[in-house]
């Protein structure tokens, strides 16, 4: 099967302008994604799960303005740096976390031509830059000169390294089936594939990679440090872990990083397993228009799963969390790779 070659966005404009536009788009998508997830799930879904309403007044309609107002408030707050803190590292840490989120958005395609950069090693790149945030977290924990922050940061480092492996291994199955590491290529594979000769639905890889999808979601949950893997920020014991000394807009950076990354991970999961922006038999400009909507819907579905678990489960202890990664997820994902390989060879 030959894969269609993605056509680059054909705009006749100077290189600098295009880069500026792309940067601006990604920079606006991060807060938008974080806001949407924060509002829909953190404020509204969680409240309704907990037999309460959540914010109802700000903005007039169901408190939609609440998070934006919170953001404005955070920006106005005094920027407090603890006296004992390592000032420069302390100030740089939230930016590092946000940069990791920023880099993640670059490869997620929202349409046949709506992608900032369609890298040949897209999957590899996405998983690599997502672990950059560990550096930011470690910097934050170390520079805060706070024992809770230090404990949180070390937990985060141990956890993110442990769960990086199942995350990567879960994706290998998809890469074997699609035969490409480019995210755009994987979407095209799912759009044009067929189920037992019937191509009405395309071929969403979740059908064959269901275990991969589940492992990916669990590992992503851990990467995002969300409950049940929220040991690094454990509210009831470490108060807020590595974020404990941060105030004002620096805290806002962490918040945006957290939810922005959740959005991006949901996007990657949707792209790898659910077919991304693709609608079977829709190509060209129409796909460019409908693609973002389809992708957004799928992102919301995946995010719903992530946040549903977050609001329901208690958290693991650090040693139990490591045991799950090393004893269950990694062997399972290896078995998944093996099964996928056999499947690929046989069929």
């Amino acid at each position: 099967m030959t894969l269609p070659v993605p056509v680059p966005l054909a705009i006749d404009a100077p290189w600098g302008l295009i880069v500026a536009i792309k940067t601006l788009v990604v920079l606006s998508v991060i807060p938008a994604g974080a806001l949407i997830l924060g509002y829909v799930f953190l404020l509204k879904m969680m409240s309704h799960m907990q037999s309460r309403l959540g914010p109802m007044d700000p903005g007039g309609f169901h408190g939609w303005f609440q998070l934006i107002g919170d953001g404005i408030k955070f920006i106005q707050k005094e920027d407090i740096i603890p006296a004992e803190a390592d000032r420069r590292v302390f100030m740089a840490a939230p930016v590092v976390v946000l940069i990791s989120t920023f880099l993640l958005y670059i490869v997620v395609p929202a349409g046949p031509r709506l992608v900032v950069a369609d890298l040949d090693v897209g999957v590899f790149y996405a998983l690599a830059v997502s672990s950059l945030s560990v550096i930011g977290v470690l910097m934050a924990g170390w520079a805060s000169a706070n024992k809770y922050a230090l404990l949180g940061a070390l937990r985060a480092a141990a956890q993110l390294i442990a769960y990086e492996l199942p995350l990567v291994l879960a994706v290998v199955g998809v890469v074997i089936q699609a035969g490409t590491m480019s995210l755009q290529g994987i979407v095209h594979f799912q759009q044009d594939g067929s189920l037992f000769g019937w191509n009405g639905l395309g071929f969403p890889l979740i059908l064959t990679q269901f275990f991969g999808f589940v492992i990916f979601l669990i590992a992503a949950q851990a990467e995002l440090t969300q409950t049940p893997f929220d040991m690094p920020v454990a509210e009831s014991e470490l108060v807020a872990g590595y974020m404990v000394e941060y105030t004002g807009f620096r805290f806002l950076f962490f918040f945006m990083g957290e939810f922005g990354t959740a959005f991006a991970f949901a996007g990657i999961a949707a792209t790898l397993f659910l077919g991304g922006w693709s609608i079977p038999h829709v190509h060209g400009t129409l796909a460019d228009v409908l693609g973002p909507i389809v992708l957004f819907t799928k992102v919301m579905i995946v995010s719903f799963l992530i946040f549903w678990a977050r609001f329901t489960y208690p958290r693991f202890r650090e040693d139990q969390l490591q045991a799950i990664a090393w004893k269950y997820l990694i062997p399972l994902s290896l078995a998944n790779i093996l099964a996928t390989g056999i499947f690929k060879v046989v069929f």
Binding site: Q50, R52, L151, E237, P314, R315
Partner: protein, 388 residues
Amino acid sequence: MTLDFRAEALIQKHLADARINIELETEGMVLNLGPQHPATHGTLRVVVKLDGERVVSADPVIGYMHRGYEKLTEFRTYPQITTLINRIDWLSSFANEVPFIHGAELLMGVEAPPRAEYIRTILTELSRIATFVLFLGEMALQVGAITPAFYGFRDREHVLNLIEAATGGRFHPNFNRIGGLKVDLPQGWIDETRRVMKKIFDSVDDFEGLVVGNEIFAVRTRGVGVIPAGVGAAYGVSGSNLRASGVDWDLRRDGPEYLVYKDLDWRVWTHSDGDSFARYWVRMQETRESCRMVLQMLDGLPAGPIMAKVPRIIKVPEGEVWVNTENPLGEMGYYLISKGATGPFRTKIRSASFSNVSILPWLLKGVYVPDIITILASLYFILGDIDR
């Protein structure tokens, strides 16, 4: 003097080992858990010495909320004191009043009429329910699940509304009088209570599915903070904490007779494990048992007056009395010495949380930092009850 070279080599080797050991010896970290910490719900401070995430030693520091109630009682009249003791264990304040009033009544030789005794028992059990449903949510919150905490507060709200309707106070009812109660129950209260009890039954079922049935909760709490029965009893741990260690001991049944527990059909729940999970499970069953007891009492509520004949100015005759009762947090006792004045000469308050927390240094040795929180939550103490 020259040493044999072999002996010297041996000494040198040991010295080198010692040097390496000193070099490798990592410095422990002292972590101040509290007094400002979400897990200590109040102002308990636990000074924890850590080796990595493992606790080497733990030292609870109490007294941040000491208000001197034992001394204050010496300058108050008996009716005034109930206002104070409402604030000892503020989650179940009505239950606090009972042993004190009972002690004063014993000294005076007054007996409250049966209706008053029934209503006292109902309200005591209601405050037990209000305390325990909050625990059921709170413990899940400390283990990391946010949602059950809100269910706990929602159910507590239902019960507090009942207590407010009957007594006029949500947190501090101050409803007991020596010889009876302030007023009778309001109209429609009994039906409303029946409805609320049904809600509590349902929501305890929810807790059982959401928390007890959750594998993560089980691995976090099973085998964590095990109190053997002997150790627990030696430290003076009481109430549900001790029953979770397998000790079949409940003052409502085994203590000197008080209120109307003898008339009711109920059982004492125990669990053999003694870990945090057992403590959660026992409190969950006791919540149900209390609901059953309340329903029984509503059916058998006798008619009649709610106040015995007592003089206008209460003077308690000379004497001493020790009354201990089964309160939601454990055994609560009052030792009253009266010299015949309008107030007690001396008072000693035995509060459950003080003894329950005293086991912490023994219990926390060798556990991980997250387990500290689990254990603190499962012991379920109230700071006012520790410091008085």
